[in-house]
């Protein structure tokens, strides 16, 4: 609260029109001072983490309550307790681990291929004007095709094995990386390029010491987008003719109305997404610590 001027004395001395106003400046009525209370003492402190976890826990409790009273039947959605048990069984039997390995492998290969292709194309069109003319237009055109829509075509081309699944992930990963790396290269401060030139750097030296490090923040953003899309592509890809992986587990569970297994698989997807985000964040912390805007530690 801000301190406003104290109201004039209510007894109202100042009504007489001429005389007293000058004398008033020498002897003022005492101000009504208000203490400013430090924020820390004003409220009872519930730790933030506790406040943040209350909501989800309450939701979980409500879910469990609805399930155990029979309002929510298990073929609509299994109870949290049951999901935990099934999750544990899946871990214990090793089927979850093997499914995760298969899925992770698909994502890893797709991500690797997509990164190589996306970054490679971005380098060609970012560094050379000829490359831009040849590469950028077709890539921008292909980018507008929704990659999930290509699944039927990929099945015809690559059959129903691992190839179409990896191809979908690769395609999904390539474009965000291309766009961001390209924008990063073209966004490097021209003053720094000029400084590099004045220091006698060769063309390759400029690319290595100025352009690529300058494009790195954008490249990391692209990687983050790509990872998000990689999981999405994985979910789509594994719903078609999979005989292993998390998606396969889900399709199987759907056929037997096992909502518990489906929820476990969804949790696994979420967990893998979190893990990927953690990896990128660690990379950023290591590679971008020079950034003036970087605030984390």
């Amino acid at each position: 609260m801000s301190i406003s001027h104290a109201p004039p004395d209510p007894s109202g001395v100042d009504i007489s029109p001429i005389s007293t106003s000058k004398d008033d400046t020498s002897e003022r009525s005492p101000l009504d001072l208000v203490p400013l209370v430090p924020t820390s003492t004003r409220r009872t402190r519930v730790p933030r983490w506790l406040r943040r976890t209350t909501g989800p826990l309450a939701l979980l409790a409500l879910w469990q309550l609805l399930s155990s009273t029979g309002v929510l039947t298990s073929d609509v959605l299994a109870s949290p307790g049951r999901i935990a048990r099934v999750g544990w069984d899946l871990i214990d039997s090793g089927s979850l681990a093997s499914a995760m390995t298969t899925s992770l492998q698909r994502v890893a290969i797709g991500l690797l291929l997509g990164t190589v292709i996306g970054t490679g194309l971005a380098l060609v069109s970012g560094l050379f004007r000829v490359g831009e003319d040849l590469v950028d237009a077709p890539v921008q055109m292909l980018r507008t095709v929704p990659f999930v829509g290509l699944i039927p075509l990929f099945i015809i081309w690559f059959g129903i094995g691992e190839a179409p699944k990896v191809a979908i992930i690769t395609l999904g990963v390539t474009f965000p990386l291309y766009l961001n790396v390209y924008a990063g290269i073209r966004g490097v401060d021209s003053q720094l390029i000029e400084a590099g030139e004045s220091l006698g750097l060769s063309r390759w030296g400029l690319v290595r010491h100025v352009v690529l490090p300058g494009a790195l923040p954008n490249a990391m953003t692209g990687l983050r987008y790509s990872l998000g899309i990689a999981w999405l592509a994985l979910v789509f890809a594994e719903q078609i003719n999979a005989d292993a992986g998390i998606g396969f587990l889900m399709v199987q569970a759907r056929d037997f109305l096992q909502t518990d297994v489906i929820v476990v698989c969804l949790i696994v997807y979420a967990f893998l997404g979190l893990l990927a985000d953690f990896v990128v964040r660690t990379l950023e912390r290591l590679l971008l610590q020079w950034r003036p805007t970087f605030t984390g530690r």
């Binding site: 003053q191 720094l192 000029e194 400084a195 590099g196 030139e197 004045s198 220091l199 006698g200 750097l201 030296g205 010491h209 100025v210 490090p213 300058g214 790195l216 610590q289 020079w290 950034r291 003036p292």
Partner: protein, 255 residues
């Protein structure tokens, strides 16, 4: 002394260059932007080891001239001869933010220079204990000194300074000016300082050039003893004369 030739060289210039004691030789230099000449048949000579300050109103082409001498602008006509070893310090420090200070200093040096080389240059500008810092942690003055170290480590025969103190606060600028004066006396390289502070020019330079309409319009030799005293009446007189040349009425300024 090795000279690097940019642009066409007339035969006379080619024959006279081996015996020259000049660090810069410019004859009939023209640089146009969209047909409008910013530099128009300009003549300029800088002796080896000479400190020359270049004054002028903004937009008079003084920074363009410096960029040409640095080899960063080659859309030129005329003769420009500059030493092979030259270095530039810009108004902004232009350190690569992704390289630690000592790597910035060594950037672009031929071969594989040792870290000690950078540390020596940094110590010379008083930044010896900042070799391992990221550029973002340096203050404006420190970054500018690091940029100066990066220029000096090249052991230039010609040091080009483009308003290097322009972005510094008044106190830091005084210190930086003193530092440049000391470094120049120690190194003995030719210096071309582009500035718009008349006082700075008179304080540091052997010769002050005033650029106007794309040519060197006025030349003023500064014969004051070093270190110079800005309260010296002769200093004030030179300063007033140059200000007048730049179109600033000193009486009005003093009022």
């Amino acid at each position: 002394m090795a000279t690097d030739v940019h642009g066409p060289v007339s035969p006379q210039a080619a024959t006279s260059s081996p015996v020259t004691t000049q660090a810069v030789r410019v004859e009939g230099l023209t640089r146009s932007f969209d047909g409008r000449p910013v530099i128009d048949k300009l003549q300029l000579d800088v002796r080896q080891g000479e400190f020359v300050a270049l004054l002028g109103r903004s937009g008079c082409g003084k920074s363009t001239l410096l960029r040409i001498l640095a080899g960063l602008d080659r859309d030129i006509e005329g003769t420009v001869l500059v030493p092979r070893r030259k270095a530039v310090a810009f108004q902004a420090p232009r350190l690569m933010p992704w390289k630690k200070v000592w790597r910035n200093v060594l950037l672009g040096l031929p071969g594989k220079p040792e870290r000690a080389v950078a540390e020596k240059a940094l110590a010379e500008v008083g930044l010896g204990d900042h070799a391992d810092a990221w550029p973002k942690t340096l203050s404006g003055g420190e970054a500018q000194r690091a940029s100066l170290a990066r220029a000096l480590v090249r052991e230039p025969d010609l040091l080009l300074l483009d308003e290097p103190f322009g972005a510094l606060d008044a106190l830091t600028r005084i210190k930086a000016q003193r530092l440049v004066g000391e470094l120049w006396q120690r190194r003995g390289c030719a210096v071309l300082l582009v500035t718009h502070y008349v006082e700075e020019a008179v304080l540091l330079a052997d010769r002050v050039l005033v650029m106007d309409d794309g040519v060197i319009a006025h030349e003023q030799r500064i014969d004051l003893d070093r270190p110079r005293d800005i309260t010296d009446p002769r200093f004030a007189e030179l300063r007033a004369g140059l200000l007048e040349r730049l179109g600033v009425d000193t009486a009005a300024e003093a009022a």
